[in-house]
Symmetry: C2
Subunit: 246 residues, 2 copies
DNA sequence: GAGTGGTCTAGACCACTTC
DNA sequence: AAGTGGTCTAGACCACTCG
């Protein structure tokens, strides 16, 4: 297996990617393990550095490996637990802008509370530990589009002011947490509208809504910085993906 | 604007990508327009071919441009209409495998009918034109995970046999349509379980479900080859995305 | 056959991390 | 200072499309 056929019609970078994928799958390269450096892979498989990088680019885009400048490349921790990998994550505000709307934000509340179980697990908090909970509504051209609750560990409990147009939420997290948010894990599920959300969207209780549970992760995919619940108003905003063939 | 600062700290490939992005945004490069060839861009901006390709790779991954081997690179038709771009699309069967299940498929029915409006629009069919409709259920370790309806234009009405383990749906489409499916447009929405779907999942009518409407497109994103409705059973399968920061 | 994008090489310098 | 990944160049050959 760990062989590259230099005369094959299969591109060399693809063969290398396949070899590494296989080693990750069989945990010959376990999660967290440092890969050989690019120059080592060059020599081992008799490839140029660009070709090695092309292979690693592929795996990085698939979320299988994580690169760290000046340090090395290692196997991702999430390698087998997700279904899809997206290229870019957008802030809620940017999402609305891209959809052609003018976004505005209304802050509903900001309080300390013991978070729901799902939040506790995502942030790996001890039971009964409080978090800060920001609740707000994003409007698209004055129609309510998203109902959002952000749960921040108290260590990050800064004075995040959403009325600040300039700074996005992720840049705020960078600053407050001291960790750069690089990935966002998104769980998409359908729920029934209820309580405050139904009220915010002026829709009947029980109407199906899209709920996106977002976990903000650092570059190593190890540390969860923040957790967020986002309810989408389907009347205003569709959730659409363009995917490329695998 | 259309200038590259070779002494800037901003990478050259990123500057070029930004220039092209801007030209696409302002429709100076309108949808469908051929871009200058890579060698032309090389000369125009005084960059090496690899650097030009790095910029184009970025835009292609964002879905802004489409490349055609031997022909050229042009501005995508969908450039502004989607929210997210994913790297890879998986067949339903592969999706279940990746989630760690053993997939099986049960064909429910296969009939000619006049499709719902949403299908007609996606496939750009005239009113009253019939399509073939395959209905099936995908099981994950014998639990019903997805309820799927594929709508195929009659021209593609082959004898697609899902029991064939070897061939996936997209490869079938390639063969039957004579067009290689390169992109899948996915619309995600929450709906209430009803009728056959509720029955298949043994869940109460009215329970929120995830519905994914998939449109299969060729490489030019011009031709819709097939349309598919996929209902997800949340009890079995979560829909999860790992996204990278933009 | 001319032009295109796809792949590949051998080299180079840089910024970053670690020791 | 040594090693890492990030960027960049100049050149090459290939497979593909089109006239």
């Amino acid at each position: 297996m760990p062989f590259i056929d230099h005369r094959s019609v299969i591109p060399l970078y693809y063969q290398l990617a396949q070899i590494l994928r296989e080693q990750i799958r069989t945990t010959e390269l376990p999660a967290g393990q440092l890969l050989p450096s690019e120059r080592e892979l060059m020599n081992t498989y008799d490839l140029s550095r660009n070709t090695v990088r092309q292979a690693l680019d592929l795996l990085a885009r698939e979320g299988l490996i994580v690169r760290e400048h000046g340090h090395g490349t290692y196997v991702s921790n999430l390698s087998n637990s997700f279904h899809y990998m997206m290229d870019t994550f957008y802030e809620n505000r940017d999402l609305l802008k891209r959809a052609g709307y003018t976004p505005t934000v209304k802050q509903i509340s900001s309080q300390r509370l013991i978070p729901p179980e799902v939040v506790r697990q995502a942030l790996r908090l001890e039971p009964q530990v409080e978090t800060l909970c920001h609740t707000m509504i994003f409007f698209a051209d004055d129609r309510p589009a998203m109902y959002t609750q952000d749960f921040l560990p108290l260590a990050l409990a800064g004075e995040y002011d959403l009325s600040l147009e300039g700074e996005g939420f992720m840049r705020y997290l960078d600053r407050a947490s001291g960790v750069r948010v690089e990935y966002v894990l998104v769980d998409i599920s359908p729920v029934e509208a209820a309580g405050e959300v139904a009220h915010a969207f002026s829709c009947p209780v029980g109407k199906p809504l899209l709920l996106m549970k977002e976990t903000f992760l650092d570059g190593a995919q190890n540390r969860a910085v923040c957790f967020s619940l986002n309810y989408f108003n389907q009347e205003v905003l569709n959730f659409r993906l363009l995917t490329r063939r695998g």
